[in-house]
C-alpha cells in the first residue's frame, strides 16, 4: 500500500512517501496507525498520540474504523492548520 506523511508526521517518520505490504491483521485505518507505530522509534514518535493523527484514504478524510479494503493510498498528518 502507498503511504504518505505530512508536516510533523512526515518529519518524525523521516519520509514523505513509501510503499509497504501490510499484514492481513491490519484491516482499518486505526489498526494501520498502531502497526506503523511499531516500526521503529521515528514511527513510534510520529504516532505516539494516535488519536490526534488524521487519516485520508485515497484523499478522503476517514475515521479510525474505516476499512482499508478498497484503498490504494493512505495519508497520515496532524490536525490541519491552513486558512
Amino acid at each position: 500500500m502507498k503511504l504518505l506523511y505530512f508536516a510533523w508526521v512526515r518529519e518524525r517518520v523521516g519520509t514523505a512517501e513509501e510503499s509497504r505490504d501490510l499484514p492481513g491483521s491490519v484491516q482499518t485505518a486505526g489498526e494501520l496507525k498502531t502497526w506503523l507505530a511499531g516500526i521503529d522509534e521515528g514511527y513510534a514518535y510520529a504516532f505516539e498520540d494516535q488519536a490526534i493523527i488524521r487519516v485520508a484514504l485515497d484523499k478522503k478524510l476517514v475515521e479510525d474504523d474505516a476499512s482499508l479494503a478498497d484503498a490504494s493510498e493512505a495519508a497520515f498528518f496532524p490536525p490541519m492548520t491552513g486558512g
Binding site: F77, T81, G83
Partner: protein
C-alpha cells in the same frame, strides 16, 4: 465554483470582479482575505505545506457544501502554499448571492470549514535566527467555530 491551490499571490479585486461579472442577479459579494502576520516581529516567514490533489478536492467539497446550504450565485476559494513573508496574502474566499446574509454566512462558513478540513499545515520560522522553526498547533477554537454550522 472556482478553486485554486497555488504558489503565486492572487489578485483580490480581480477575483471579486470575475465572480460578480456584472451578473445583475447578484446583490452582495463578500470576500475574506487571510494574511501572514509577523506576530509582533517574532515571525520571519511562514511555510505552508499541503497535500496536493487532496487539497483541491477538499476545498471543492467545502465550496459545494456552502452552495448546498445557501443560495449562492458563485464562490471562489484560493489557498496558497510554499514560503510566505509577513504581509503576504495566504487565503481568499469570495461568495456572491442575491442578498447579503447568504453571502456573509457562506464566506464565514467556508473559512471555518477550510481551517479544520483542508489539508494545509503551517510552520513558523522565527525571526531571531537561532530558535528552530515550529509547526503551528491546531486551535480548539477552530473546531468550535466549525461546529457552529452543524
Amino acid at each position: 465554483m472556482r478553486i485554486a491551490v497555488q504558489l503565486e499571490p492572487f489578485d483580490v479585486g480581480a477575483e471579486i470582479d470575475a465572480l460578480h461579472a456584472r451578473n445583475p442577479a447578484i446583490g452582495a459579494v463578500v470576500s475574506f482575505t487571510g494574511y501572514c502576520r509577523d506576530e509582533g516581529g517574532a515571525l520571519a516567514a511562514l511555510e505552508l505545506e499541503h497535500f496536493p490533489g487532496m487539497a483541491e478536492q477538499a476545498l471543492a467539497e467545502i465550496a459545494e457544501e456552502a452552495n448546498d446550504r445557501w443560495p449562492l450565485q458563485g464562490a471562489t476559494v484560493i489557498h496558497r502554499h510554499g514560503k510566505l513573508a509577513p504581509g503576504d496574502p495566504i487565503v481568499l474566499v469570495v461568495t456572491a448571492s442575491a442578498h447579503r446574509r447568504a453571502a456573509f454566512d457562506a464566506a464565514d462558513f467556508l473559512m471555518d470549514y477550510l481551517k479544520t478540513r483542508a489539508p494545509f499545515w503551517k510552520k513558523e520560522h522565527p525571526s531571531d535566527g537561532t530558535s528552530e522553526a515550529r509547526w503551528v498547533n491546531a486551535k480548539a477554537a477552530d473546531d468550535e467555530d466549525a461546529g457552529r454550522w452543524s
